[in-house]
Each structure stands twice: as C-alpha cells, then as structure tokens.
Point group: C2
Chain length 216, copies 2
DNA sequence: TAACCCAGGATTGGATCCAATATCAATTCT
DNA sequence: AGAATTGATATTGGATCCAATCCTGGGTTA
C-alpha cells in the first residue's frame, strides 16, 4: 500500500498537506518537527522537499530552509496563461486521435468528480478532476509537455480546492466538462480549444476573488 | 568562490559533466564513486540528483538509482516545439519594453559568445549563449515561463555543445543573433518572432544529423 | 535612546553507518 | 540443456550524529 520508498510516501503526504491547506501558504517548514510527525528521518523529507522545490511548490533559501510557496495573483495568472499555450497545443495533437476508450475515461472521470463532490471528498475530487484533464494531455503524444502542465497544475492545487468548495462553481465545472466531452465526440478540435479556454477563464475569474492580492 | 552549500557545488559540477559529455547520455550514475570523485558524501549528491531529475536531466527508478537522461529525436523535437510556444509568448511581452541596457546586454553576450568560440571554450560559449537568449525571456515579466524555458534549455545543453563544435553552425548563429538584435532595435516584434523561429529551426535541422535515432 | 555586539539555542547541512533492495553468478531441479 | 532458485555482492535508501550557519535576546557603548 505504502510506496516503495519513504521519500515517495513523504512526497505524497506533503502534497496532501499543501492541497488541503494543512500547511499554510508561506509558512516555514520545520524539518525536524515535520519529520517526526510523519514518522521518518529528515533525509527522505529533504529529498521530497527538493522535488517540490523544483516544481515551485515550496521555496528554498540556503541555510534558511524551505517554506510553502504562496502564489500571488500575478503568479496565478501566469500559470493559467502558460497552461493555455500548452494545452492548446496538446488539444490540437490529441483530439483527432482520441479513442473510444479515452472518451470512456473522460466520462468515468467526470462521474468520479461528481461522486467525490457529493461525498465532500476534496482530495478525491482533485484526483478525479486531474484524471479528466490529463486524458487529453496524455493522448497528445507529448510527454514532456504533459509533465510541464502537471507541474503547473500542482502549483494551483491548493486554490483549486478552495474553488471547488462552492457548489455554484462545481455546477459550472460539470456543465463545462460535459460540453467538452460532446465537442470531443464530434471531433471539433477548435471548439474543444475554445471550451477549454472558457473553462480556464471561469476558474481565473473565480480565483481572482479568492486569492490574496498581496505577494508573499 | 565555491557556492554556500555543497549541494549547489555538486549541482554545478553535474551540469558541467553532462554538458561536456564527461557523463555520457544513458550512463548509470554510481553514487559512491561519483561522490568520492567530487570529494563529498552521498547526501548532497543525492539532493542534487533529485533536482536534476525534476528537470529531466537524469532519470530515476526506485532502488535502481539514477542515470543520465538521453534524448531521443522525438524528445528533442518536442523540447523545441514547446520552446517555440513559450518563447513566442515571451517575445510578444518583452520586445516593446526592452530597454537600451537590455540591448547592450544582448550585444555584450553576443561578443562573449564569439570570444569564447575563438578560445575554444565550450562551457563559456554555452554560458554566454544562454545569457543572450535569456535577456529577452527575463524582460517578459513572466518568471515562471522563464524558468520553464531554462529547464528545457538545460535539457538540450549537451547537444548544443555538439552543435557548436562546427564552425559553419557558429557562423550561422552569429548572423542570426545579429539579425535578431537589429529587429529588436527596430521594435519589430513579429519579425523578431520569425527570426527566433528560424534560429530554432536551424538548430533542429543540424541536430537531426547529430542525434542518435534510437531512444534510450 | 538607538545601534552594535556577542553569547546561547535553534535549525539546517553534511558525513558516516546500518538496513533494505537489486543484481548476478553458481547451483539445483525438471 | 534450460529454467528456476538461492546465496554473495554491489548499490541504493534511511537514520543518527556532528558541524556550520542562522536567529534571538540581553547587554554594552556611543
């Protein structure tokens, strides 16, 4: 059940702690306390932190340690702009070659989102939502691009959780996802791209209201 | 002179070893031997490797260790395609707001490239060439995009070194750089973008001949 | 009063040691 | 003979310990 290495276990835990807000944005990370809390030594913790640093989830200064990254509004807008560029490319490549199984996976992922939403399971929703988006990315045949989007995705996970806490937002996401599935079924690539842009824009508008205006 | 932490020193060394080909693409990395060679323990080495893994410079499998990543032709083409998407965006943002000092830096970087080329200093050339390209990226006001391009850049550093070993290629790069500087001076954004695309395409064509066709 | 300085504690960085896993060759069994 | 197994060795993973750096508070001095 638990991953083959302690580092991976720690990495998963840290992602969860950041996603759920248990580790607040901007908070310094005390390695000793955190390691003890997770029941591991500081070595695997430090390696996991270094991975997160590479992804921009935490920031690091030599001899001063790590702290949870917090995104300014500018950061967030940049992340969404870059996602637009990369996801548009991926959609161009992927839509014509999506298989029926891929579409089934989209439908299944959307169902999982709604199920987790009903259960109030934030972590489960984030996971299913990610599934949904990455069906298309992974079908693009561009693994490196997919990986970059994954990192950008992770960077805003904490905010996405907030976004999803509103039932109004959830409703809209479901509508948009269904529209995207329909456009994919019809192989209307440009339409899919347009819908995704709208989907992101909706999130950005909602997030503008949530995100603290200040930088860290 | 030496960085404040051993990890950073090791990181710099590893980048250099990969850039110069002293660590061959695909080669497994024996931590014990490498640590001894660098005169450090395995702890900072492992943290540096983890950073490189996040950048895709090395690949890692649990309990099997790290090996130097080697790019297939497909990988390489993907890297350049993603760079095209991101650099086009950066150029749009940057060109109108580039200052005279920025342009001076471009000229200076180009001069440094030519100087290092004459001295046969591969590492110096790579550094100056990077300077040149990142003047524009950093002026884009998109730090996260800049960081992503930096990673993509690093990923192909080893091949770039090969590319530069041909005097014909060096000539062409100089011509193209000068054309880019001229277009920037004239604030012709679309022209700059076109020239950058040509610049990358030239590299891709040359690299097609160099890169082994096989994946790892 | 405010700036500087200097302990002492807190925290991070690195080295060494031991445990866990993988690799590989020799051996056994079918 | 070939496949599976087992044990020895090499290599990675993690814990503990020590060193280096940073931070904080109290005292000193201009």
């Amino acid at each position: 059940m638990r991953p083959p290495t302690t580092q991976e276990f720690v990495l998963d835990e840290l992602r969860r702690l950041i996603l759920t807000g248990e580790m607040a944005a901007g908070a310094p990370i005390r390695q000793d306390a955190l390691a003890e809390r997770l029941g591991v030594s500081r070595v695997p913790l430090r390696e996991a932190l270094r991975t997160l640093e590479g992804e921009g989830q935490v920031v690091y200064r030599p001899h001063r340690g790590y702290q949870v990254a917090d995104l300014s509004l500018d950061d967030l807008l940049e992340v969404y702009r870059i996602r637009e560029l990369l996801e548009t490319e991926a959609t161009h490549k992927a839509v014509p070659s999506l298989t029926d199984e891929d579409i089934d996976r989209l439908v299944q992922a959307e169902a999982d989102i709604e199920k987790a939403a009903l259960a109030g399971d934030i972590v489960g929703m984030a996971a299913a939502n990610r599934q949904f988006h990455f069906v298309v990315l992974e079908a693009s045949g561009m693994p490196r691009l997919t990986r970059l989007v994954r990192v950008l995705w992770d960077a805003t996970d904490a905010y996405r959780a907030l976004y999803y806490s509103s039932s109004e937002n959830r409703e809209r996401v479901h509508r948009e996802h269904h529209a995207i599935i329909a456009a994919i079924r019809a192989r209307k690539t440009d339409e899919v791209i347009r819908l995704w842009d709208e989907h992101r824009d909706g999130a950005v508008i909602a997030l503008r209201a949530i995100v603290p205006a200040h930088p860290s």
